[in-house]
């Protein structure tokens, strides 16, 4: 892909760099500015459902973006990423059901549980390659799904309703939907900047090197396993945070959050937006959610349109939506 882009660039690299760098930052900038301004639409009397929809988009984007670190930058196709969303969400709900509603404790537990699960399953999964990696991550995701359905004390199949959203500094400000919105926005922006820094760092370059050629990276002295496992844990923890937000936004958790179809949705979002660009995940999440929302207004059989769109995207729109803008980093 990068070679194709280079054909368009002027011959001198010194001249080529500044405009391309600007263009690469323009798209994410526009996206975040739009997100920042959405709540202002309330001034023109828009309904709260827009706020809720865009909050959900940002939460989905957060999970998909963390998956981009694995698939887009590390070529680790995890088909069990929704498990971490579930872990984060259940951390909130289970603690809340025992009366622990402090957001910092819940967040710390969500991060801790995601870290442990990612470290443990990642250590096993990364011993395998290719198809086997896809299948074993899928299996671990299913394992959590069935654990969730059998947790009778926490709602089992039916899930669990949150008594209240998380409290921070003893305040219930998260009850306000605009506050919830900006918390999700802040987390998404923070995670974006963090992941940007990670992929630009030496660690990120090694990870991309492993994506391109693990054998060669090993030959020049890097141990791919350690780098991949670290990336796997980071991605799992960020997805755990998205689960924390999701539980707060919907005030409900259920095993359905960890179903393998949700992991499939995350990959769909990512490929739709464009792999390996981070902001592609955000654009993919927005298009995915808006499309599902709009189609479901017109017909209850929206999946009849959604499925073929997915197939067509895979067959004909390589590089996703960001690929169309030519701003892949």
């Amino acid at each position: 892909m990068n070679n194709l882009l280079d054909l368009d660039a002027p011959a001198s690299p010194a001249l080529a760099t500044p405009p391309r760098a600007n263009r690469a930052y323009l798209l994410p900038l526009i996206v975040f500015v739009i997100f920042a301004l959405v709540p202002l639409s309330a001034l023109w009397g828009s309904q709260s459902f827009i706020l809720a929809l865009v909050t959900r988009i940002m939460i989905l984007a957060l999970a998909a973006m963390s998956l981009d670190l694995l698939i887009g930058y590390g070529a680790m196709i995890s088909f069990g990423h929704a498990a971490y969303v579930g872990l984060g969400a259940y951390s909130v709900a289970i603690l809340a059901s025992h009366g622990i509603t402090d957001g910092f404790i819940q967040l710390a537990v969500a991060l801790g549980v995601s870290l442990i699960f990612a470290l443990f399953t990642g250590a096993i999964s990364l011993r395998t390659k290719g198809v086997y990696f896809i299948m074993i991550t899928l299996a671990f995701g299913q394992m959590l799904f069935f654990l969730g359905t059998s947790l009778a004390a926490y709602g089992g199949d039916d899930g669990l309703t949150l008594a209240s959203r998380s409290m921070f500094f003893g305040s219930k400000f998260l009850k306000n939907d605009v506050a919830m919105y900006y918390v999700a926005f802040g987390v998404l922006l923070g995670a974006y900047l963090l992941l940007r820094a990670i992929v630009a760092s030496r660690f990120g370059r090694v990870l991309r090197g492993i994506r391109e050629n693990p054998v060669r990276m090993e030959a020049i002295g890097f141990a791919p396993y350690r780098y991949q496992l670290t990336a796997y844990v980071i991605a799992g923890m960020i997805a755990g945070v998205s689960g924390f937000l999701l539980a707060n936004q919907t005030e409900f958790v259920s095993p359905a959050y960890t179903a393998w179809q949700r992991s499939g949705d995350l990959i769909f979002v990512l490929v739709l937006g464009g792999l390996g660009s981070l902001h592609g995940a955000i654009i993919g999440a927005a298009v995915f959610s808006l499309l599902a929302d709009i189609l479901s207004h017109y017909t209850e059989n929206w999946a009849l349109i959604f499925g073929p769109i997915l197939i067509l995207v895979v067959l004909y729109a390589r590089g996703g939506i960001t690929g169309l803008f030519g701003s892949k980093s």
């Binding site: 399953t121 198809v131 990959i267």
Partner: protein
Amino acid sequence: MTLTLALVQILNGLQFGLILFLIAAGLTLVFGVMDFINLAHGVQYMVGAYLVAAFTTMTGSFVAGLALALPAALLFGLLLEVLIFRHLYDRDHLDQVLATFGVIIFLNQAVKYVWGAAPLNVAIPDALSGAIEITDGMLYPVWRLVIIAAGLAVGLALYLVVNKTKLGMLVRAGASNAAMVSALGVNIRLLFTIVFGVGAMLAGFAGAMVAPILSVEPGMGDNVLILAFVVIVIGGIGSIRGAFIAALLIGLVDTLGRFFAPTLLKLLLDPSAASQTGRAIAPMLIYILMAAVLFFRPSGLFPSKQ
């Protein structure tokens, strides 16, 4: 008494495992020969169940329904292959996973659109609807025994075809090195289309056989698909023998685990905690088993590629 119950559970596990084998056989060959991940294999199972339900209602006889459903399932599989899958063989696994995921989304909704969301019931043929006494006072449904017999028969037939015929030789060769087989002048695409069609029909056959004992509903193939993947990954991709052994293993471990885990845990924990934990652990057992197998043998038990 416990022994008889255990026997019933073992038969149930065997029956479940053989159904998994019918589904996994096609999946593992398609995977092995063309390196193609087909998530939509589970919907073949669902389509098979729906076809037999529709044809049985139409003809009034399960046998006639099955006789019509099998070629229909075969044609349906070939149709999907020609329309969509054929364009995915040269793509990477990510594209294959996604596109076939799209097929699942579409077909799950399509059967809901055509047949409604409510589960359909299919009657067991009268002659086979009874139960027989396997030990003193213990009745076992004949239909489940029929499923076991059918599964074993298909397993034997596949074994003979794969190991004793020229076609089977090409399939095995294709599974271990497709490029070389192609270079030797074999039309690998045609071979694959045959394998794909048979695999789709077997999955449809599995769906048709369980239609009378399970409810036929949209999405019924989704969980079975994941189990079939567990089977072929444990067995080793591309290996029919591996799929057979792994399918029986998964069927037995899952069925017996659900039954015995609470009982066994009672030796360690108090009864209510034991039944709680047992119910939580049992469905996870097969995934733990899979992780353990892959930990020690990252390419499964019987890898076909050297």
